[in-house]
């Protein structure tokens, strides 16, 4: 009974992971770059929303739209100025560069908005929801619903829209994509835009839970684990993995103690990787000699 309740909360919390992981995977597929700045992009999105919602007379949805716009602009700039130069570089460069960008974003945020936590306007209805005997916080439910909705929407987009097809082509093989006359840089930029959107959603959802501080980026600390758990090239896989991770964190936190939350995700993913290097749902990336 209790277990069921914890599980629901955990899975609900996992929605954000799935959403973040998705943006992460799109970028990786198109450009082979692991975006370690995901957490900071998320944090920035939340701050944008905060900043715009302070504009008097601006309805929250308008503020949110502006926030997404802001994140997109930042993402495009990052991609254009930095990431574009990294393609073909060894993994470590991409990892370090995105980490570096993360530090810059975090530093800038704390410079502008300071360290003191700030409350986001309560967009998500807070009233708890009864599911039979089980009680789940409103935030969690609505956050989950939105996260999954956005995730699915972008999956559909990725599957069926023409740009989506171009994106998939780029993902499978850049050279071929070029020869097919697909504008590869454009579709890479597109992945960053999609990432910006998903991270902003995630940021606002996460920020509405505990207020916004530069440390909000820590929420994404285990998103890399999620991605590898699901499989770097499996769009559906990472969403499921996200929910699994949320569940795992909550359950381990509840039954083993809060201090386990940090280790569990990575221990789990380590075990999985040793058995299935390509993740639970990922397909093996063949390497040519």
């Amino acid at each position: 009974m209790m277990f069921l309740e914890y599980s629901l909360i955990g899975i609900a919390a996992g929605g954000i992971y799935g959403l973040l992981a998705l943006g992460f995977v799109f970028i990786f597929m198109a450009s082979g770059v692991f975006n370690f700045a995901t957490g900071q992009m998320m944090m920035l999105g939340a701050y944008f929303f905060l900043a715009f919602s302070k504009i008097p007379g601006l309805p929250w949805w308008a503020a949110f739209a502006l926030a997404i716009l802001g994140s997109i602009v930042v993402a495009i700039i990052l991609e254009w100025v930095v990431i574009r130069r990294l393609i073909g570089q060894p993994v470590i460069s991409a990892v370090m560069v995105t980490m570096g960008l993360g530090w810059m974003l975090q530093g800038t945020a704390s410079l502008i908005w300071g360290q003191v936590p700030q409350q986001l306007p309560d967009v998500l209805p807070r009233a708890p929801i009864f599911i039979g005997e089980i009680l789940v916080p409103g935030r969690s439910v609505w956050g989950f619903v939105i996260a999954i909705a956005v995730a699915l929407a972008s999956v559909v987009y990725f599957r069926y829209s023409r740009t989506g097809v171009a994106l998939r082509a780029t993902a499978s093989d850049q050279i071929t994509a070029y020869s097919m006359g697909i504008n590869v840089p454009a579709s890479i930029r597109l992945t960053w835009i999609m990432a910006a959107i998903s991270t902003t959603f995630a940021g606002v959802i996460a920020g509405s839970i505990n207020g916004v501080t530069p440390e909000l980026s820590n929420v994404a600390i285990s998103v890399i684990a999620v991605v590898l758990l699901g499989g770097v090239n499996s769009v559906g896989g990472v969403i499921i993995a996200g929910l699994m991770m949320g569940w795992l964190e909550t359950i381990s936190g509840v039954y083993l103690g809060g201090h386990w939350r940090e280790v569990i995700p990575y221990l789990a993913v380590l075990l999985v990787l040793l058995v299935r290097p390509s993740g639970l749902f990922g397909s093996k990336l063949v390497e040519r000699i």
Partner: protein, 405 residues
């Protein structure tokens, strides 16, 4: 022959550098006779920045006050403030940097790691009087930390005060059900074992013992647990600005009736006010007097004047971090006055002795009662309750308590 010239130039440069360095350092020694220099290390960035800012303000305005009144026995007070980012290496480096500028007669730190890192070398060589924002339980060990003084009761003292209060005020036949919710940080875990033991001693029932992350985390599971455990009283320990307010909100939304309580760092009025209705009746320990307006006492009225002068938006409640800085500083000031009056040199030992020998020290309103320093701390505090009805006025619901140990 070119290389020969080259090496000459090099060596010359080195000699120059060395002499320069020695001159500057000795010069620093010479001029440091006159004013008193304190080194203040605070976490102005990172998760503890919120209180760090307020603490910094406290030391600033304390220096302002002292120097307005002719310094400490005529010696001007200068304060070197540094940001530690709550990192040990950084905070130690800061103190060393400060020492390279002047002779430091008092050093204040951001937390327990700082005290632990500085003490070993300090106890042997520099012998600087120390205080900090840490109320960790083992710092009262005067043998291990002879030069460090806790500016109030340690965390265990504080929770014991709360438990005793629960024991006294609890209605109903069944024993009071108590829950501890604390951060998985050093200061979060610090008092929990001792407190649980004490609770059982008092015949209280510990129904929940929950550790959470220090910042941003989904607290729903915690509240679900509370719903299962149904504690009458829930005590927060070791948080800054997040987690505990959200627990309160969510618990109220879940319709839980538990009485929430906090120790010193979970008593910030600003946050309580933000919480609004949900925080009505929130109860906690503070070592210091809460309100400065209308105070007749020397220090408290001075604080009130300064605050009004420097902060037009001042609401009459100097924050707890601010007061903590003031009291740490007051201890140092008092010790130095005594030592100077006695004509003794200002060394860590002399200052520490002066503090330990203090009898019924009148703190000018910071504490409501004359205090004594027992085990390198001031085990005095008071329990307040926030009343939403009275614009969240923290109403004292106990007398000033001194934990006798």
């Amino acid at each position: 022959m070119f290389s020969l010239k080259f090496s000459k130039r090099n060596l010359l440069g080195i000699v120059g550098a060395i002499t320069l360095a020695t001159i500057t350092s000795s010069a620093a020694l010479a001029q440091s006779k006159e004013p008193l220099t304190w080194s203040v290390n605070l976490s102005l960035t990172g998760p503890l920045a919120y209180s760090g800012e307020l603490q910094a303000k406290g030391f600033e305005e304390f220096a302002e006050w002292v120097n307005q009144n002719g310094g400490i026995r005529g010696r001007k007070l200068t304060i070197i403030t540094d940001d530690t980012q709550y990192k040990v290496a950084v905070s130690v480096a800061n103190l060393k940097r400060a020492q390279s500028k002047a002779t430091i007669s008092f050093a204040s730190g951001d937390g327990t790691p700082w005290v632990r890192a500085v003490s070993p070398e300090n106890n042997q060589t520099h012998k600087i009087l120390m205080s900090s924002g840490s109320f960790a339980s083992d710092l009262v060990d005067a043998a291990k930390y002879p030069l460090h003084f806790v500016p109030g009761p340690n965390y265990t003292d504080q929770i014991i005060m709360l438990l005793e209060h629960i024991k006294k005020s609890h209605k109903g036949s069944a024993p009071a059900r108590v829950a501890f919710i604390y951060s998985s940080t050093e200061f979060g875990r610090d008092p929990i074992q001792a407190s649980k033991a004490h609770a059982r001693q008092l015949g209280l029932e510990v129904v929940l013992d929950e550790e959470t992350a220090f910042t941003a985390v989904d607290v729903s599971p915690v509240v679900v647990k509370m719903r299962g455990a149904q504690p009458d009283y829930t005590i927060f320990q070791g948080y800054a600005t997040s987690v505990w307010p959200e627990v309160i909100r969510l618990a109220r939304e879940y319709g839980l009736k538990s009485q929430f309580m906090g120790t010193i760092w979970a008593m910030d009025r600003g946050i309580i006010v933000k919480l609004g209705k949900a925080a009505d009746g929130y109860t906690g320990v503070s070592p210091y007097t809460f309100k400065s307006t209308g105070s007749k006492d020397e220090v408290l009225s001075a604080i009130d004047a300064l605050r009004r002068k420097n902060d037009p938006a001042y609401d009459g409640y100097p924050t707890i971090p601010y007061m903590q800085s003031w009291f740490s500083a007051l201890m140092a000031k008092r010790a130095m006055e005594i030592t100077i009056d006695a004509g003794k040199p200002i060394t860590g030992e002399n200052l520490a002795k002066a503090l330990r020998d203090l009898k019924d020290w009148n703190t000018g309103g910071v504490f409501g009662v004359p205090v004594n320093i027992i085990g390198n701390r001031v085990p005095v505090g008071r329990i307040y309750k926030y009343d939403a009805g009275k614009n969240f006025e923290p109403v004292p619901i106990s007398d000033w308590i001194t934990v006798n140990k």
